[in-house]
């Protein structure tokens, strides 16, 4: 292996895009490690507390693109207090100080401050791309800094962040000389935007391919923008409300018809059903359609729309499409790969918008389906078994039956057999979310069959420690395990402590794990950070009572020990 000059190695490594491949390559031998680290430009860090900025920069001096993830996944559902952590500032600061030529920063579930954005905008001359997903802590002032200072900005993509809107003129901060924008997504912003500034920005951004507007952008502005940007590939509308007889609407229809390149459509944050037909002409080109925020559209109207979308690969929709609508999807969208059906109603006992029937229809009609997120009111084992047979290619299977611990309504049995069929049939399954009434049996199946499983989400499931142990024992590729409200305790936690160093993280909340169990684990495994989230000072009074149950525990492997930015209510044991 040493016969190749390093330039050749480097050239070969250039073809390796996935960070997993690069990680694997760097383990082969010292010289490969060295060549790889000096040539790596894109780094992915799945847990920002597993390593620190200095060591990152030390190892990868040619770093150009950094992806960081912060809070645990359950933070999405309000299980993690706001100031838990995940601050990006230290990373930006370290990279700025050490002269990293940062071009791209992607963050997920991190806390971003205006100061951080300001520092970012001033420190990296070639900065091109900022993607923030489910982040918080910043305001539109921070966006103004990015707009003002990043001279070569190509991409500003804000997905589902919590942004404090100061109703400032951040859009106007893009200088007239800025013509480099390729992608702009501000759909999650709650406030008004300067429409004139937006139109001017769009007019001079001839490279624009992706645009996602917020609800404050009316249809009239959309029409004007589209008339000047027929090259768009990805569009997220803002407000889609207009009088269908108006001149504005007529102009919109004309403009849309010229947008022959649009493959991805989303938005409709506010929509009048009578305006939907305007998009029919582009539906047949669509590969991605996201109507999951479009409230107030009746199932029948969704059906009419879907009938035009024969090439759809990815569909995100609300459950008001109904089983009947899913039947239409099944017969129309033969190329479908990913389906997400979101609840339009959080009642556990309301009218059933979608049931197991819709899912079965989809599985029968869409042979390429491999990724599913499905909220429903009920599910049967029989249906799941059928789905498993129809679709053996699932890589992601997330089923959420809204009423937890509900059994199969036909047989009154737990859903063990149904999920068991899924894991047995889908040999490539990497992600699984369970729901419904489940016993230890389902975990037995998962441990036995889910060989490629990397992420498992569990809630209100299982009978005993045996369940969790089956999973830890059997799923060799498990990276993330998150459990809430399930009867797993210290025995499950402590039987195979070495397992956790092979995983990114473990979350357990409202389980049977005690303080003593966590302390024991922390003592045995110094390279794990075992964090207890102690809200409401439940444990302040008796920190030595090891028998008390721990409400929230989050543990993860780390090369840099306990973090120093933990707030008071987080104890690292």
């Amino acid at each position: 292996m040493n016969y190749f000059p390093e330039e050749v190695l480097e050239h070969v490594f250039d073809f390796l895009k996935s960070h997993r491949d690069r990680n694997a390559v760097s383990l082969v031998c010292k010289s490969w490690y060295r060549v790889e680290r000096f040539s790596r430009e894109r780094v992915f860090i799945g847990n920002c507390y597993a390593i620190n900025p200095d060591r990152l920069i030390e190892r990868f001096p040619r770093l150009r693109s950094l992806t960081l993830k912060g809070k645990p996944h359950f933070a999405d559902f309000n299980l993690v207090p706001h100031d838990w952590g995940g601050f990006v500032y230290p990373w930006i600061d370290a990279m700025a100080k050490r002269g990293v030529n940062l071009e791209e920063l992607r963050l997920k579930r991190m806390v971003v401050s205006d100061e951080g954005l300001e520092l970012l905008s001033r420190s990296f001359v070639n900065f091109k791309s900022l993607i923030l997903v489910s982040c918080e802590g910043f305001t539109t002032d921070g966006l103004a800094a990015i707009a003002s200072n990043c001279r070569f900005l190509r991409e500003l993509d804000l997905q589902e962040n919590e942004v404090e809107d100061h109703r400032g003129q951040w859009l106007s901060c893009f200088p007239d000389s800025c013509t480099s924008l390729v992608s702009l997504n501000f759909a999650c912003l709650k406030g008004e935007v300067n429409l004139a500034a937006l139109e001017r920005l769009m007019a001079r951004s001839c490279n624009l391919r992706s645009l996602k507007l917020n609800h404050a952008v009316p249809l009239d502005t959309l029409q004007k923008i589209l008339a000047q940007a027929p090259q768009l590939v990805d569009l997220g509308t803002g407000s889609f409300v207009s009088d269908p007889d108006s001149e504005t609407f007529r102009r919109l229809r004309t403009a849309i018809q010229k947008c022959a390149s649009i493959k991805s459509l989303s938005g409709f944050l506010e929509v009048a059903p009578c305006c939907l037909p305007a998009i029919y002409p582009i539906c047949l080109n669509l590969t991605t359609l996201n109507l999951s925020y479009a409230q107030g559209i009746h199932g029948s109207e969704l059906i009419k729309l879907i009938r035009h979308c024969g090439k759809l690969q990815r569909l995100w929709i609300l459950d008001c499409i109904g089983d009947k609508g899913l039947g239409v999807v099944a017969s129309t969208c033969k190329e479908l790969q990913e389906l997400r059906v979101f609840p339009s109603d959080l009642h556990g006992d309301g009218h059933a918008a979608v049931t197991e029937e819709g899912l079965v229809a989809i599985s029968a009609g869409c042979p390429k389906l491999h990724s599913l997120l499905y909220f429903c009111q009920q599910m049967t084992n029989a249906a799941l078994i059928t789905v498993a047979k129809n679709c053996p290619n699932f890589t992601r299977f997330r089923l959420c039956i809204i009423n937890p611990t509900i059994p199969d309504p036909v047989t009154m049995q737990p859903l063990d057999e149904g999920f068991g069929a899924i894991v047995q049939s889908c040999k490539g399954l990497r992600r699984l979310s369970l729901s419904g009434l489940l016993t230890d049996q389902v975990f037995l199946y998962i441990g036995m069959y889910a060989e490629q499983l990397e992420m498992l989400s569990v809630a209100f499931a299982g009978d005993s420690d045996k369940g969790m142990l089956c999973v830890l024992n059997g799923c060799k590729k498990l990276k993330k395990l998150e459990i809430m409200d399930s009867p797993f305790g210290n025995l499950a936690l402590l039987t195979d402590v070495g397992k956790y160093e092979t995983m990114r993280s473990l979350w357990m909340s409202s389980c049977e794990v005690t303080l003593g169990g966590c302390k024991t684990l922390a003592k045995k495994m110094p390279r794990l950070n075992v964090e207890i989230i102690n809200e409401g000072d439940q444990m302040e009074a008796t920190p030595d009572d090891d028998r008390q149950k721990v409400e929230k525990m989050y543990l993860y492997r780390s090369l840099v020990g306990a973090r120093r930015d933990a707030p008071d209510f987080v104890w690292t044991l």
């Binding site: 959080l346 006992d349 909220f375 009423n403 809630a459 209100f460």
Partner: protein, 198 residues
């Protein structure tokens, strides 16, 4: 409004007057004094209904209560807010003769009867109750309160009861109880029942 005073105020025993009726409490006139104060009753009941915490549901399995925990169902706040905004269908209710408006969440009822029953509770002042009772009892004679609904687009006056319940919920924006004689001024299709506009 003055905060709720103790049930036994120093003065009441001495004078022998029952001052409870005239006690200042949080709440609108006619509201049951034993009801929770400070809560938006409709909303919290909706939440309770979702997760089966109603007093009437105590017979349900304890697992139903678990659903009340944070973190379930696994829906992001952004989506939850949108869903909750939509599924709470609040409409203002004005009753002729009553000095105040109330709000009801139409999503909480499954039929006109249930709605009327709830309105009866809400407007339990003496005068209103009178009219409502008359409505329930004299549905044939025509001298009754008829719910009148005004929608977003005031197109025509439609009589409540002509419209299927679900459609009514979706289109109703405002509710007004008025005497049947007035209702006859709008589209008197069936002289007896109710009226709505959408």
């Amino acid at each position: 409004m003055a905060p709720e005073m103790g049930k036994k105020s120093p003065g009441s025993d001495v004078t022998g007057l029952n001052l409870t009726e005239t006690e200042l409490t949080l709440g609108l006139p006619g509201e049951n004094r034993n009801s929770r104060s400070g809560n938006k009753r409709g909303f919290s009941e909706t939440v309770d209904k979702i997760f089966g915490d109603d007093k009437s549901d105590e017979a349900k399995s304890p697992t139903a209560k678990k659903a009340q925990v944070v973190g379930w169902p696994p829906v992001r706040s952004l989506r939850k807010n949108i869903i909750l905004m939509k599924s709470c269908k609040y409409v203002k209710v004005a009753v002729d003769g009553a000095p105040y408006l109330r709000k009801v969440d139409l999503e909480m009822y499954n039929s006109y009867q249930q709605l009327l029953g709830a309105l009866e509770d809400l407007f339990s002042c003496f005068t209103i109750r009178d009219y409502l009772e008359r409505k329930l009892m004299d549905s044939v004679s025509g001298s009754e309160y008829v719910p009148h609904v005004r929608g977003q687009r005031l197109v025509t006056g439609m009589l409540v009861g002509d419209v299927p319940w679900k459609m009514f919920v979706e289109s109703c924006k405002r509710l007004r109880l008025m005497k049947s004689s007035e209702a006859n001024g709008l589209e008197p299709r069936t002289p007896s029942k109710c009226s709505s506009t959408s």
